[in-house]
């Protein structure tokens, strides 16, 4: 502890002597050993300072010019970046519009039943994308369904309003055949095609009761020959001749057959 204190004291004395030397003070009244050490240190400092001051960069002007060029370059770069946020805002706006388009697409898909098919949703999405000028080359689910989604898909106003026609998808069903206007005989079955293109067997009917099938259950009471046939029971042959057949529906046919059977018994 004493030694440490002594060393610190010597160091403190050296520092004081250096300060005194800087101020130009007199060092004669101090320990000669310390005085000698301070003198050696100061001489060394002088040598060191002179040596260091003699070393200098070879040609600082070249490095300076290069550096200032870099400053100018960075400045122009940062000015470009200041302008970039405007474009960024536009990009963000476009991104939002794309999200809106996707939302409309999803909303349209959800309302398939209500708004007339998936094609309607696809049509809406295409419309938005076309308005935005977004190139839309993909044939996604919505477009595929638009083609095969039946007449509503191609015939809805939204689909027709699409500015860019969807190529490669027919808008009409080539297999669709409108109902024939001709007549057929009772009891025959003919093949008809539904608007969606499905072929079905249909029993032959008269033009007045075309495909309604109402007569099956609610035949026209006023024209039912069965009533008169009942009245003219036992006169089957004659009754059949007299019964007017204003509505020769299938119901009437059953009635007539029933009358015939009963009369036959």
């Amino acid at each position: 502890m004493k030694k440490l204190f002594g060393r610190n004291g010597r160091q403190a004395q050296l520092e004081e002597l250096h300060r005194a030397a800087e101020r130009g003070g007199d060092l004669r009244d101090v320990d000669p050993e310390l005085q000698q050490e301070v003198a050696a240190d100061r001489q060394f400092m002088q040598q060191l300072g002179r040596f260091a001051s003699e070393s200098a960069p070879a040609d600082p002007s070249v490095g300076r010019a290069t550096f200032l060029l870099a400053v100018a370059r960075q400045r122009s770069k940062s000015q470009e970046e200041e302008r970039r946020p405007m474009i960024g805002q536009l990009l963000r706006g476009r991104g939002l519009a794309l999200l809106a388009a996707a939302g409309i697409f999803a909303g349209g898909a959800v309302t398939v039943g209500a708004s007339g098919g998936v094609g309607n949703a696809a049509g809406n999405a295409n419309d938005v994308l076309s308005t935005l000028g977004v190139p839309h080359t993909g044939h996604g689910h919505g477009n595929g369904n638009a083609g095969s989604g039946g007449p509503q898909a191609s015939g809805t106003p939204a689909a027709e309003g699409t500015r860019r026609a969807v190529e490669g998808i027919p808008t009409e069903n080539p297999q669709h055949q409108p109902a024939a206007a001709g007549t057929c005989d009772k009891g025959e079955t003919i093949v008809k095609t539904t608007p969606s293109g499905v072929a079905v067997n249909v029993p032959c009917q008269t033009a007045e009761d075309h495909g309604q099938g109402k007569g099956d259950k609610t035949p026209d009471a006023s024209a039912t020959p069965e009533a008169k046939a009942t009245e003219s029971h036992g006169q089957s042959s004659g009754g059949a001749d007299h019964t007017p057949v204003p509505h020769p529906t299938q119901a009437n046919q059953h009635a007539n057959e029933g009358a015939g059977n009963s009369s036959g018994r």
Binding site: M45, Q47, P57, V71
Partner: protein, 201 residues
């Protein structure tokens, strides 16, 4: 050489300079370069003993300062402290790389006279044996030529502490060179009075 700020006016001027630097004002950067490049070059030269290394480090200090000026905020410490921190890191990195790639290998002095190169290497070698703080103080003081006040601000220490480090470092460095038998070719002018620490420039 301009002094680092010690008064409020200087601090305000330093803050204004920092703002101009952030705005990439070319005149401000030119002033900063002119004020500190030679000192930082000498600092690196003193520590590495190589002119090439000093050229590289000094150039990199300003390049890094330029690239990171957006993140720099003036908080009362002089800009020199910021530059010094960059220079110290780059120099240390250079020394680590040199020692790793070629430990103990003789590096031919580049540029300057052969004597100067050898002396600088002898000094750099002796400096490496000092403590890190003593080495920093000696190089900043005698190579870079900064005042005790500037060094204190750069290192974040009190002036009295820096002065104490200076005195210890000088004594240790001198004794090291004497023990190794190295001669210091630059003779002190015996007719001139011994310089005060703040007068050695």
């Amino acid at each position: 050489m301009e002094r680092a700020p010690r008064h409020e006016d200087d601090a305000a001027a330093e803050g204004a300079l920092a703002a101009r630097l952030r705005a990439l004002d070319q005149a401000a950067w030119a002033a900063l370069y002119d004020r500190h490049h030679a000192q930082l070059w000498r600092y690196s030269y003193g520590r590495t003993g190589s002119r090439d290394a000093a050229d590289d480090v000094a150039a990199q200090v300003f390049a890094e300062a330029l690239s990171s000026i957006d993140r720099y905020r003036y908080k009362g410490r002089p800009i020199l402290a910021w530059l010094y921190a960059i220079a110290r890191n780059l120099t240390s990195k250079h020394l680590r790389r040199t020692q790793r790639d070629a430990p103990g290998e003789y590096v031919e002095p580049s540029g300057g006279s052969l004597e100067e190169g050898l002396d600088s290497m002898v000094l750099a070698d002796a400096l490496e044996r000092l403590t890190a703080e003593q080495r920093e103080v000696v190089v900043l003081r005698f190579y870079a030529g900064y005042s005790t006040g500037e060094i204190a601000a750069a290192m974040g220490k009190r002036e009295a502490a820096v002065y104490s480090l200076e005195v210890r470092a000088i004594g240790a460095l001198r004794r090291q060179l004497e023990q190794s038998g190295g001669t210091f070719p630059v003779e002190a002018d015996k007719n001139s009075p011994l310089p005060g620490i703040d007068k050695v420039r």
